[in-house]
């Protein structure tokens, strides 16, 4: 039977769409994305069923949240830059720097969001608006926190020298998750902050 076969070199593990891990991450992102669809549906549904205005106390302030949005989007650019440098030249110090920068920006986003929350004058249990608002932005913030933890692990592994040669997959997937968290924020921002300005 050997005459029917030929020998061929195949990649081990593979990168991008060739690796199974990439598909696993896509599944995770799909299920997380639909969770946000249901969160936003709940927010809009509760709003549509109110007799009074929505939000009850007028639109939320944009003073902190607009710069915060810029910070989060910038963090995506930083991590993409580090990943690109590493893929091209295998430069781990630059990658570590980019990861650390992304972590700082992500942590800043969380801190500013907490400040923004505490200045709102409403709590989780005030009314259905506050419940829906805090759940939507809170679930997003939990995702930012998980993303920061992922980036922290990547940073630790980078410093430990675990990424040499073929191990780009961890970094690529960590960055992909981070981009997802940022993209979702844009939708959350538009739903919970921007649209109420015009309604």
């Amino acid at each position: 039977m050997t005459d029917l076969t030929q020998e061929q070199f195949l990649p081990v593990g593979g990168t991008g769409t060739v690796s199974t891990a990439w598909w696993g991450m896509v599944c995770l992102i799909a299920t997380e994305a639909i969770l946000f669809v249901y969160l936003i549906f709940s927010y809009i549904y509760l709003g549509s069923q109110q007799s009074g205005p929505w939000p009850p106390n007028g639109p939320p302030s944009l003073r902190l949240v607009v710069p915060n949005t810029v910070i989060l989007l910038a963090s995506s650019v930083v991590v993409a830059w580090g990943q690109r440098q590493f893929r091209r030249t295998g430069n781990t110090p630059l990658l570590a720097l980019a990861l650390a920068g992304t972590i700082v920006l992500g942590a800043t986003f969380i801190a500013m969001q907490v400040v923004e929350w505490s200045g709102k004058g409403i709590a989780l249990s005030t009314n259905s608006y506050s419940s829906a608002f805090f759940l939507l932005t809170g679930v997003h913030m939990a995702h930012v926190a998980v993303g920061v933890l992922i980036l922290a692990m990547l940073l630790i592994w980078t410093i430990m020298g675990r990424f040499r040669g073929v191990h780009h997959e961890h970094i690529a997937l960590g960055a992909l998750y981070w981009h997802f968290v940022d993209a979702v924020w844009l939708v959350v921002f538009i739903t919970a902050y921007l649209v109420p300005q015009f309604s």
Partner: protein, 646 residues
């Protein structure tokens, strides 16, 4: 001479593979195994155990309902029993049972060595087990979930249900959802990447189509119920106003979120079971399935439509007529793909040479029950009729015809069919036929009269009824039928116990079936196939007989006639559609991490239940450390040399 050398080489290869793949004996190996066959059998056994628990709950309820005005159960105990019966059957039996089949069968059917993510597979089992235990934790305290399996607010809210009953339900379902989602993701990636070369999408067994469809649906539907449960728990324990009217909440939000999940879920419980029938029934008709492509398309389109029918559970809630009309129409339309599959099975039987074995009886019985359940479903898709029938026993009859008919009967048939592969022994056919007829007669005696009691106006979920309603004798028939059905399940267990000890040896392919799982030994070796098969058609073992083309599948013995991959724990990854090999996949070894991670989640769930923040925080930190260990990058070569068929 050469043959002797070849055989020795083959035996050496098998030994090498065994050394690489075999699980260590003892407690460590038991907790750490990631073998999809072991996990599949664990799923099957655990789900069957929950079927028995849910069944016993049902029997106790049937005793209470046997005659009017009985006082066997208090109203509260009855509420807990019907809630746990529904929750157990829907969440802990029906889907995990099908996951068990798919876990066991997929890599064998697809010609791979394991699932895409073996550790994730172990995780999904352990989480399922612990979530099942968690859902039962308050049962001995007399505080089990008690608002029905769909737990409508405000019934389930703190004001009307002050115990921990519904907190257990809400947290338990979120916990279980993790198992479902990671399991689904694993099935999806396995289907896309872990197949034998040549196993292109037009050659997949229908069970694979069914589970794939169900998995995609679960990925998109489960977050809805997890979110609803999180909201319920927050409403109950942290004073939020998602469902609570005085703060601007909406009880109907619960119903929307629950049924957006719930209806696709119902299809997830039946599509893989329909796949079992589509694959196994033709074997006993001695022909291939009629209309393979149509059945595959109908499977997928059922699920697509299944996302647009959830409001038919909410016809009586006062939604606008326009909305009711749309969802009513969608609910009628969904009968079409089911009918296509139905006619395909009937045509397969009609044009086949029948072998009336036990599995065949179960599959034929399934067809009849599906028709009855389908017709009563079609009836309730009409808004006008549904207003009369909703919340009566007619609905109970309908949903049991659908769920037992399309899930339990194919499952028991499928267990008879694949038991020889799993154990190496055939179940006794004579006892099997007794099992079937006992279950079939018992089932119809139990549930057919409920159509009539429902039409006579008997409401569901009420612990008793007055004699003046005149439904006493029909309920007695139902109770007797339920016990007869239980005897049937008992006969099945006796058959399993008997055949495991002294059953007839099965050989590789006792039914002379066409698909890949029958090419390997019974039970299969831990590495499934010594040489990764090369697939050339939809029915690899019937190619000579069907003679549809020149190409033949190559299912090598351990000889060096193809891809052996014995350098390390490895399997082959292929392109998603055409199944051309494009990557060598390193498979993870056995590990206790999935078990530990699940224990951590159990602790975390208890922390939330007790609102003990320190326990939640400690568990979360442990989970993070475990995940970091799990995901740590491992060094490996960039490329590897493999032998590929030309």
């Amino acid at each position: 001479m050469t043959i002797g050398v070849d055989q020795r080489a083959a035996a050496d290869t098998r030994q090498t593979l065994l050394d690489i793949w075999e699980t260590e004996p003892g407690l460590y190996g038991w907790l750490a195994t990631v073998d999809h066959k072991t996990i599949g059998i664990r799923y099957l056994c655990t789900a069957f155990f929950f079927l028995i628990i849910g069944g016993v709950e049902a029997l106790v309820m049937r005793v209470q309902l046997a005659q009017p005005d009985l006082k066997v159960l208090s109203p509260d105990a009855y509420n807990q029993l019907f809630s746990m019966h529904g929750t157990t059957m829907m969440f802990l039996y029906a889907l995990p049972m099908l996951s068990g089949f798919s876990n066991y069968l997929w890599p064998l059917m697809l010609g791979s060595r394991d699932m895409a993510f073996p550790r994730l597979n172990a995780l999904s089992y352990w989480v399922f087990l612990f979530a099942g235990i968690f859902l039962y934790v308050s049962f001995p305290l007399g505080q089990a979930p008690n608002a029905g399996w769909f737990s409508y607010v405000p019934n389930a809210s703190l004001a009307y249900d002050p115990g921990i009953n519904m907190d257990v339900f809400a947290l338990g379902l979120i916990f279980l959802g993790i198992s479902t989602v990671v399991g689904s993701a694993n099935f999806i990636v396995t289907l896309l990447r872990c197949r034998a070369p040549g196993m292109s999408v037009n050659r997949l067994p229908i069970l694979v189509w069914g589970t794939l469809t169900a998995s995609v649906a679960n990925l998109l539907a489960v977050p809805a119920v997890s979110l609803a449960c999180a909201m319920l728990w927050l409403d109950r324990r942290y004073g939020t106003h998602f469902f609570e009217v005085t703060g601007g909440g909406q009880p109907l939000l619960w119903q929307h979120l629950f049924w957006v999940f719930g209806h696709p879920w119902v299809y997830a419980l039946v599509l893989p079971a329909m796949g079992i029938v589509s694959d196994a029934l033709p074997v006993f008709c001695r022909r291939t399935l009629v209309g393979y492509t149509l059945v595959a398309i109908s499977t997928v389109s059922t699920m697509v439509l299944g996302f647009g029918v959830w409001v038919h559970h909410m016809f009586a809630t006062g939604l606008p007529v326009m909305s009711l009309s749309f969802f009513s129409a969608a609910s009628f339309v969904i009968a079409i793909p089911s009918a296509i599959a139905m006619f395909a099975w009937i045509a397969t039987i009609w044009t086949g040479k029948l072998q009336v074995t036990t599995p065949f009886l179960f599959f034929a019985g399934f067809i009849m029950l599906f028709v009855i359940g389908g017709v009563s479903g079609f009836m309730t898709a009409s808004v006008a009729l549904d207003w009369q029938l909703t919340d009566t026993y007619f609905i109970v009859a309908h949903l049991h015809y659908v769920l037992l008919g399309i899930n339990v009967f194919p499952v028991i048939g499928g267990l008879h069919f694949w038991f020889p592969k799993m154990s190496g022994r055939i179940l006794d056919d004579r006892l099997g036929k007794w099992t079937f007829w006992t279950m079939f007669v018992g089932f119809n005696a139990a549930f057919f009269p409920m159509h009539i009691t429902g039409l006579m106006g008997l409401p569901r979920r009420i612990y008793t009824y007055p004699a003046a309603m005149g439904v006493g004798w029909l309920n007695l028939v139902s109770t007797i039928g339920a016990f007869v059905f239980a005897v049937g399940v008992l006969l099945f267990l006796i058959n399993v116990a008997k055949s495991l000890r002294a059953g007839q040896a099965a050989g590789n392919n006792p039914w002379d079936a066409p698909t890949l799982e029958w090419a390997t030994t019974s039970p299969p070796p831990v590495y499934n196939f010594a040489t990764i098969p090369q697939v050339a058609s939809r029915y690899p073992l019937w190619e000579d007989r069907l003679n549809e083309g020149e190409d033949r599948s190559v299912i090598g013995e351990a000889a060096r006639d193809g891809m052996v991959l014995d350098r390390d724990k490895e399997t082959i990854g292929v392109t998603p559609l055409d199944a051309e090999p494009n990557v060598v996949l390193k498979m993870p070894g056995d590990s206790v991490l999935p078990f530990l991670l699940s224990v951590g989640m159990l602790v975390l769930s208890f922390g939330l239940l007790l609102q003990a923040i320190w326990l939640v925080a400690a568990a979360a930190v442990c989970e993070f450390v475990l995940l970091a260990l799990w995901l740590a990058p491992m060094p490996h070569d960039a490329v590897e040399k493999v032998e590929i068929y030309d």
